[in-house]
């Protein structure tokens, strides 16, 4: 009798969980994705490998972020670009050039440009989360990505100033993190494919340690971003998101 009750309890719990997943709305899924990506402050180090055929360029970056990437600061540390720094606040970007010891404001449309010639744009790099706020979601049939069953969500822009009109996001069912995102232009052309790998738990969040970006407009090219030393809720250097900090 005791075992029967335990079994029934287990079955009920399983059915309850199953029904809950079945009943989940696309809005709830992206809310969970957003929740996982939320942060107040963040510090990180990045190794970015830009590949074209057999040629590879390597960039090393250290940076800080605040309020889900609304403010971000990045500093290049590889010898060729040593001292080049970026400050992004909302949709504005400033670049510091150490040779000139001068700061230049970059026009907003240039945020779509590949950062340092890579497949990843300034927008891709510096924005995170807030999918629910920017996109209307629709659930498509599930798919398996890298052995993990995923929700497939079509995201249509509901605000004008987003980088991509439509995105298809593949969200892993077991931890509600994106495994892959395909990005489309307003004309329905596939522009970029981003896949996320090597997830780790950091400060309660599931964080990809490796991101692979393919810009479909660039033949035979691929950019791999490897994260290291990612920390959340860290104390940031004073005044880091100011123009004056760029000159340091």
């Amino acid at each position: 009798m005791k075992y029967k009750l335990k079994f029934l309890g287990f079955i009920s719990l399983w059915i309850f969980s199953f029904v809950q997943i079945l009943a989940i709305t696309p809005e709830e899924i992206i809310r969970k994705v957003d929740k996982n990506a939320e942060f107040n402050t963040q510090s990180f180090a990045i190794t970015m490998k830009i590949q074209k055929g057999k040629r590879t360029l390597t960039k090393k970056i250290e940076g800080f972020g605040m309020v889900n990437g609304k403010k971000s600061f990045m500093k290049f540390t590889n010898p060729e670009d040593d001292g080049v720094k970026y400050l992004k606040i909302e949709k504005e970007l400033w670049i510091y050039f150490p040779d000139a010891d001068d700061i230049m404001k970059i026009s907003g449309h240039m945020l779509r440009q590949g950062m340092m010639g890579s497949d990843i744009s300034y927008e891709d790099m510096m924005e995170s989360g807030e999918w629910e706020e920017k996109y209307a979601a629709r659930l498509l049939p599930d798919e398996t990505i890298g052995g993990n069953l995923c929700f497939v969500i079509e995201l249509k822009a509901k605000v004008p100033d987003v980088a991509y009109e439509t995105q298809i996001m593949y969200v892993e069912k077991n931890n509600f993190v994106p495994a892959k995102v395909d990005m489309y232009s307003a004309g329905g052309r596939l522009i970029k494919k981003i896949s996320f790998h090597d997830f780790q738990k950091i400060s309660g969040r599931t964080v990809a340690q490796k991101v692979i970006i393919k810009d479909t407009r660039r033949a035979d090219s691929l950019t791999t971003v490897e994260y290291g030393n990612v920390k959340f809720d860290v104390k940031l250097p004073p005044n880091v998101f100011t123009k004056e900090y760029l000159r340091r």
Binding site: D82, I89, E92, D101, G108, R112, Q113, I191, F241
Partner: protein
């Protein structure tokens, strides 16, 4: 008064050197370098002229929480016909400064680059108005100056400076009060260039002037779907006479995910000549004429390969210099550029094939380590 200024300048050198030594001792130094070789062929009167410039650059940086030391020294070797103008070699200390972060302000002392207003071509508030046609973003030489930047918010600040030219006989001082409002950087700037009669005007200009001059004006740069920028500067002497206007207006936009970038900027110098017969080198402005335009097109094919097309036009005599280049990044820090330029002007036009040559070709290899 003039002697006092010269003495002050000399006295400033000593603390600069002391502070730089101090900074070196208290942080981790970092040495980076650049080598760049430009091979140039100029065709003039259908005869080829060969020159080669080898540039070696060493940059020493030393950063701590409170200090920054930065020294940029360059050594040039010249070959071919260019040695007739520049000799066999040259050395240049482009920067040598120390910066102190006090929290409420940053202070810079030493040989440092000072620039007010919007950075870039045709900026009326640029102190050094020379231009390198083969590389418009080539770093400009610093001046011996004391500069302070006081933040007035995250994106607002008051920059003020005072400095001397290489001979310590002329001085320059100025300020730039900059703000950020609704995606626009905008500000007020003013410069005073104090000079002695028969001395070269401040910094590099070959022209001579006989009185101190002042510049005051406004500038902005921002976004209205396309990038837009403008600057307006009024030049005048201490009696508010001999005044003239210098201004620019430009915009830029990109296509195909910013792979193709177009930009154009118009320039006006009220003091400039309206035709070749009254051109004279402008000591306080760019070039010779009243109206100019620079238009550029950059197409980034991929991470490694890009194409540039730039056209400098003198809108008074309708002559242009058209510069096309291909840039290829071979490996980390190693880039090659092939560039060619054509002139369209005739006779006495500014960009005249008779004065400068029919075309030039340049092969550049640049390595950073």
């Amino acid at each position: 008064m003039k002697n006092a200024i010269q003495n002050t300048a000399r006295v400033l050198i000593l603390p600069t050197l002391f502070l730089q030594a101090f900074s070196y001792l208290y942080a981790e130094p970092k040495l980076t370098g650049v080598f760049r070789n430009d091979t140039l062929i100029l065709s003039k009167n259908k005869t080829g002229h060969f020159s080669d410039i080898l540039e070696n650059r060493l940059v020493l940086k030393n950063n701590s929480d409170k200090w920054k030391l930065y020294i940029d020294g360059r050594f040039y070797l010249y070959f071919g016909e260019i040695t007739e103008q520049l000799g066999d070699y040259d050395a240049e200390l482009m920067r040598s400064f120390i910066r102190y972060y006090a929290g409420w302000a940053d202070f810079t002392l030493g040989k440092t680059y000072i620039n007010l207003g919007n950075s870039g071509i045709f900026n009326p508030f640029e102190i050094d108005k020379t231009l390198n046609f083969s590389d418009v973003s080539y770093a400009k030489k610093g001046i011996l100056a004391f500069e302070s930047v006081i933040p007035l918010g995250d994106l607002s600040r008051l920059k003020a400076y005072g400095g001397y030219n290489d001979t310590f006989k002329n001085y320059s001082t100025g300020f730039d009060l900059g703000f950020n409002i609704k995606s626009f950087d905008l500000g007020l700037a003013s410069i005073r260039n104090g000079t002695n009669k028969n001395e070269k005007i401040f910094i590099h200009m070959p022209e001579y002037i006989s009185e101190s001059r002042n510049i005051a004006g406004v500038y902005f740069k921002g976004d209205l779907e396309l990038g837009i920028q403008a600057a307006y500067a009024h030049h005048f002497n201490d009696k508010i006479k001999h005044d003239f206007i210098e201004a620019n207006f430009g915009f830029d936009y990109s296509f195909f995910g910013a792979m193709l970038l177009l930009n154009t900027i118009f320039y006006y110098n009220e003091n400039g000549g309206s035709s070749p017969k009254n051109y004279a080198l402008q000591s306080e402005a760019y070039f010779f004429a009243k109206y100019y335009n620079y238009s550029g097109l950059i197409y980034a094919y991929d991470e490694f390969l890009s194409f540039d097309l730039g056209v400098f036009s003198n809108l008074n005599d309708k002559s242009s210099i058209i510069i096309a280049s291909v840039n290829n990044t071979i490996a980390n820090g190693l880039k090659v550029t092939f560039m060619t330029a054509f002139l369209t002007g005739k006779a006495d036009d500014e960009y005249s094939i008779h004065k400068t040559g029919e075309y030039f070709a340049l092969a550049r290899i640049e390595g950073r380590f």
